[in-house]
Chain length 353, copies 2
Amino acid sequence: MSRPKNDTFLRALLREPTPYTPIWIMRQAGRYLAEYNATRARAGDFMSLCRNADLATEVTMQPLARFPLDAAILFSDILTVPDAMGLGLYFAEGEGPRFERPLRDEWAINDLTPIDPWGNLRYVMDAVSQIRKALANEVPLIGFSGSPFTLACYMIEGQGGTDFERVKGMAYGRPDLLHKILDVNARSVVAYLNAQVESGAQALMLFDTWGGALSNAAYQEFSLAYMQQVVAGLTRERDGQKVPVIVFTKGGGLWLEKIAAIGCDAVGLDWTVDIGEARARVGKRVALQGNLDPTILLTTPEIVRREAGKVLASYGAGTGHVFNLGHGVSRVTPPENVAALVEAVHEQSRIYH
Amino acid sequence: MSRPKNDTFLRALLREPTPYTPIWIMRQAGRYLAEYNATRARAGDFMSLCRNADLATEVTMQPLARFPLDAAILFSDILTVPDAMGLGLYFAEGEGPRFERPLRDEWAINDLTPIDPWGNLRYVMDAVSQIRKALANEVPLIGFSGSPFTLACYMIEGQGGTDFERVKGMAYGRPDLLHKILDVNARSVVAYLNAQVESGAQALMLFDTWGGALSNAAYQEFSLAYMQQVVAGLTRERDGQKVPVIVFTKGGGLWLEKIAAIGCDAVGLDWTVDIGEARARVGKRVALQGNLDPTILLTTPEIVRREAGKVLASYGAGTGHVFNLGHGVSRVTPPENVAALVEAVHEQSRIYH
């Protein structure tokens, strides 16, 4: 298995020289694309789309057909692991993911065991294999999962985006129970991501969507420690190729030094962080991924080009930057603005390499 | 006009010695108190409560009757200024504040002019005067407003807590229009807060609830610059007493050095920041206010005492700390946990002074 023809994404993550700054976009296969909406309508609901390897491959490839992106990302959800534990993932219209059977009883927590990724998550591995074939080694494929803490938020609350009163109540009142959940999650995520690598994923990303809701001390104890456990357990090389790992805590800008120290290759940044300042803080240790405010993609191609140029200039000369948004692309984004972004990053970044 | 009998709050803001760490609680007069709910039911809706000086005084005093808090805060809303501009503030049940007539047209923005606080905001000044009388100089009274940017978010979006697509679209596409709004807001807030001081407010606070949704550069241009303009225009001394100013950007932990440099006396911290690290960064320049995670108040008195102790220990010895939550108190907070918090802060902090 050789490196992909376009390996700029992998090289930037490993801080090796590249001719330009590579770019991919969180949620690049998504509702801002008419062809995605058409495929999803055929699939029925979101999880049916994830579970069908043909359709998951189709939507994964859609943004690559439109834009010269430097990486593909598995089409799936961050919450497949707790779904495989039997909690019943579903998507209420316009409401984000939810679980039918959140963890509300101590016995249910004590009964949790790590999932076998080759069991009822085999559909993910099938999708990874099939997407790799479809990619024909043009660009690398990113595998991913939610972080142990982010999974726990949904498992305990039943949904995201709340004040996390139940999760934090457990963190402060019954930390033993939360640690039990997080340990099962971490071991499950390790097995799950390693199975993705075995199936063909060439880089991995941990999405810690809700770690930023914690206090500094609680973040380290309940989110970062378990991402460190995950990173330590991952397959980091396969067929002679390194498999870089990206860790992204939304709202984690205060903690970049601590995140950069857990053994990952790259740290994702949301848009609140100045990427040049982030580089000064941790750029000798890790690559950085990010961090244009996704709302900028709702303006015009001209503004998109200007603002992308500012992010590139802030990072400055040299490798170690993977361009991305600071959060997933909005469903109301005009695709022509994404086209302008990808072109601008590719063209404007050459002077820095 | 002499200093209040208990002036620990004012002294801590000015970094003068105090025998213990003073505490007040954001939204201390609120729905977690049965007596508040009773008064509010008599008033009808929230704005009727704000507009009635007798009732606003009554609810301002309620938490002080229960807990030995070191400051009172005017009972009002952060959005009274745009309401006075005619945008029609209302509160949808369980939805947070909204405006009936958000700014959607360029002519409406060009027509904006600074408000006269002695016009249709006189009800606020009446409440301030009456609360001061009720306080009988026991503890100081805090006046406040939303920050110019936070007001603009609600004025443009019609509500808070969104992705701020309209505000940011204006920031990137028509910055001239946003600057126009922000300048009117800043001049209005200056006049409004100075009128509160003239009416008896003894400290002032700017609530920048949504500045943390901006990128680093946009925050400085659209939020911080206008808070600096406000701070520069405020009455900082009255009747021989200094009037300290607190600036609080939720989610602004990355930018503490910049916030501390705008001329305020104190910086509010949300709970994601380690207050000891914040002190190391800016404690020589400003006092710090915060920053217990409000969800800790949903646990038990024992846990509240333990976690409050951690915040005190993190700040360490010496003055310059006003204890508070990192965000407003939750409506489902048991009042006995607030009692435990106030007592714990008063008792445990003595060793640091």
